[in-house]
Amino acid sequence: MSKLCSCSCAVESIDDGSSVMIGGFMGGGSPHRLIDELVRQGKKDLTIIANDTARPGIGIGKLIDAGAVKRLIASHIGLNPETQKRMIANEIEVELVPQGTLAERIRAGGTGLGGVLTATGVGTVVAEGKQTVEIEGEDYLVETPLKADFALIHALRSDMFGNLQYLLTSRNFNPSMALAGETVIAEASEVVPVGMIPPDHVETVGVLVDHLVSWEA
């Protein structure tokens, strides 16, 4: 069974209104071709879960510019004035989550945990509406898991089975999102034959990846 497919075919399976996790940090490590294809196919009402929205015209910023996003869960939008503008105009509902909490909520979603406990945000606006528990004399917030209908992943290298390797800071949220998406679409800079990535170097296991988009596909 080949997971290789074209970008357009992979993105066609994403319905309007879907929740979509997208890897990347200020554009680095984002699946740019999949993002371009979401824009080209005119997707709308998406819930995007990502660290940030990069900048206007870059990475996830393109989805903001295109009006494809209805709801956003992110840690930082400070470098994208367009996202802030649309948030203030109530065109996009934005939930801001501390970056470490975002990472852990995604990890919890992908690894079957009912949530995580973190001291981050205790006593701040982040704690509003959340349960606080005391463990060994310290207060922690109960943070709920995050999952999504789709996870769009960027990797340096994939084998034909979907085993993934990442590069430097373009790793970021990709490995944890690959566990938390119901359907996982990976975009790799290169696709190599099975066996070319040694088992110890596989960072995301191929069984998690549903569709693989290569530069060649």
Binding site: F25, M26, G27, G28, G29, N51, D52, A54, R55, A74, S75, H76, I77, G78, L79, Q84, M87, I88, L96, P98, Q99, G100, T101, L102, A103, E104, I106, R107, T118, A119, T120, G121, V122, G123, T124, V125, V126, L156, Y166, L167, L168, T169, S170, R171, N172, F173, N174, P175, S176
Partner: protein
């Protein structure tokens, strides 16, 4: 000396050889330029690298290696890359020795607000809340006032970054150490008087007998 340079030079004196350090975007990143001789620290970038350094001149930039502001970066031999879950594990787990962040307000309780101005500026907290909550030492590096208004005030009215008390405040006028008793004025910048600092500070400052001039070199 320009305010930012002065602040960065003073903050750099706080670094201890072997420290794992996270620098916020902007002013804090200037600290790398003024590390005391013989002090080698490891810089963590929360997007997934320990051992980061600025991109050398003429070196090729590429998207797979940037700092937390998205600017192309480089790394030293011995660097390590990891994902966001691990990165914030270092931060929250007490493995980060020092974080240096900018500030909008710090109050008499030593609490910091630095991530939003409701209705005006809503950048989001990014990693700031985790950093202030989890780092062993939190240094706020900021200008003493904003357009003439004090930033060191009685009580923060902007949303807090953390309830944790920060460890040190370094401005172009003074070095201030929050304590159980309140804000202790430790050092004055060269050429700055006690009265000038008091006039630029809304919070009450405790002035010890051994008030020093700002230490700019080890």
């Amino acid at each position: 000396m320009e305010a930012k340079t002065l602040i960065a030079k003073r903050v750099a004196q706080e670094m201890v050889d072997g420290d794992l350090v996270n620098l916020g975007i902007g002013l804090p990143t200037l600290v790398t330029n003024y590390l005391p001789e013989g002090v080698r620290v490891f810089f963590q970038s929360e997007n997934g690298l320990i051992g980061m350094q600025a991109l050398p001149e003429k070196a090729a930039a590429f998207e797979d290696l940037t700092d937390a502001g998205g600017t192309p970066a480089s790394f030293i031999p011995g660097a390590a890359a990891f994902d966001s879950v691990a990165s914030f594990g270092f931060i929250r787990g007490g493995h980060l020795d020092v974080t240096v962040l900018g500030g909008l307000q710090v109050d008499e309780g030593g609490q910091l607000a630095n991530w939003m101005v409701p209705g005006k500026m809503v950048p989001g907290m990014g990693g700031a809340m985790d950093l202030v909550t989890g780092a062993k030492k939190v240094i706020v590096a900021m200008t003493h006032t904003a357009k003439g208004s004090p930033k060191i005030i009685k009580k923060c009215n902007l949303p807090l970054t953390s309830v944790r008390r920060v460890d040190l405040i370094v401005t172009e006028m003074a070095v201030i150490e929050p304590s159980d008793a309140g804000l202790v004025l430790k050092e004055l910048a060269p050429g700055v008087s006690l009265d000038e600092v008091k006039a630029a500070t809304e919070a009450e400052l405790l002035v010890p007998d051994d008030l020093k001039e700002m230490a700019l070199a080890a």
